[in-house]
């Protein structure tokens, strides 16, 4: 049994990589927790695809404004510096590459960075894609935040996605509860291990050849 970090620990870890001034979109679900771990006073501008930049936290219960919601249809607030715009302008921002980071959930990510996160392909399911495909191709850095394994113990990092794709070769980095992986031209590289995980254990868990970039990265930093 390998060790894992909690979802909040993972959200905090993602938050550490978000620089001041970043324009960021957080996908529905676990990724929204990243906002909770951004340091107070750090100016990160949150985009929500239903037409807002400068989104603030959830309002007090008596300050819920039905005209002010996020992409998950949850009530939010506006911060000084907010801008509103219509849906075509909002998705133009994403598609045009103007967001610095988006953080998304995943069913599967392939070693080439293909993402599957909108449909399990079950024949009786009602398909619903929303903005997933736009988000997947719509930021300079596309981060996935996910458990490494499904509840059934299968790796979400795969050679080829078996679920319907959201985007092709679109993921840059995968933050999992076991380790952090970068998508590189030669496959996945482990850049940070949590707990007592090792690259060889992760290779066994995922069934993938993994580059060990944990040391290399440190060296690069020292040389820089």
């Amino acid at each position: 049994m390998t060790t894992t970090i909690s979802r909040d620990q993972l959200a905090a870890r993602v938050a550490r990589d978000i620089p001041e001034g970043a324009v960021m979109n957080l996908g529905i679900g676990a990724p929204t927790r990243v906002a909770n771990f951004l340091p107070a006073g750090l100016e990160v501008i949150l985009h929500t695809e239903n037409g807002m930049l400068g989104m603030g936290p959830e309002p007090a219960a008596d300050r819920i404004d039905p005209d002010l919601i996020n992409a998950g249809k949850q009530p939010v607030t506006e911060l000084p510096g907010t801008a509103y715009f219509h849906h075509a302008d909002s998705f133009a921002m994403m598609r045009g590459g103007h967001l610095d980071v988006c953080v998304l959930g995943a069913f599967q990510v392939s070693e080439r960075g293909d993402l599957a996160n909108w449909s399990t392909g079950a024949p009786d399911s009602i398909p619903a894609v929303g903005g997933a495909m736009d988000l997947a191709i719509g930021a300079r850095q596309v981060y996935v935040m996910t458990d490494l394994l499904t509840r059934a113990g299968q790796s979400k990092l795969v050679k080829e996605c078996s679920y319907p794709l959201t985007g092709v070769g679109c993921v840059n980095r995968i933050y999992t509860d076991h380790a952090i992986f970068d998508v590189t031209p030669t496959g996945l590289a482990v850049i940070e291990l949590f707990g007592d995980n090792t690259v060889s254990q992760l290779s066994a868990l995922t069934g993938l050849d993994l580059d060990d970039a944990t040391i290399t990265d440190v060296n690069h930093k020292e040389l820089a």
Binding site: E49, N50, G51, I64, I69, R95, G131
Partner: protein, 246 residues
Amino acid sequence: MNGWAMISKVKDSVEEAVSGIPDGAVVMIGGFGRAGQPVELIDALLAQGATELTVINNNAGNGDTGLAALLAARRVRRIICSFPRQSDSHVFDALYRAGEIELELVPQGNLAERIRAAGAGIGAFFTPTGFGTALAEGKETREIDGRQYVLEHALRADIALVSAFRADRWGNLVYRKTARNFGPIMAAAATTTIVQVDDILELGAVDPESVVTPGLYVDRVVAVGERAWLRDGEFVGSDSIEGAAS
């Protein structure tokens, strides 16, 4: 004014505003979830009776009111949307599973851009969204400057039902916060655009720099009274708003 009639797109009632919508019409309905959903116009359309409709909306109805009620009354043959399945989309879910409604699923940004293209006289465009996915199957693709794109076509409508914040009699519109969403692009993409607003202001009272939908896109506008969470246009809190947090 020298006996001229003056331009007025103002209708006295929602009934008058939705009159003449024919069976089989393609109807865009603004809103993202409940925000910006033109509930009073949808209710009026329900009462008006048009059927065999094609509806274009981001979602496929929430709860049992508004668009969901229109679906429940079997007035909608086909829906074009990005996100039909929600926690409270039970009306759509049941119709879909029973095979009683057709669904065209479009990625949200392509949906928005297709609507924008219709209003802007663009026939089709190459978008990177959806390339290599099931939602691009059978569609033309092209590599441009090293990036892969899918060809998507303009999406027009006969009617747009839009909820805005305020209007003047020329139909210049402003919206409120994230209730803006699909309103401006749908207003431009339909042959007949019908808008509900809280209030209709004097001509000239809408700041020319802040108009979001210029009046030339609007055919009919009707005031339905101030939304429950505002007093004189200012937010007064949500204690008494039913369903505001849902």
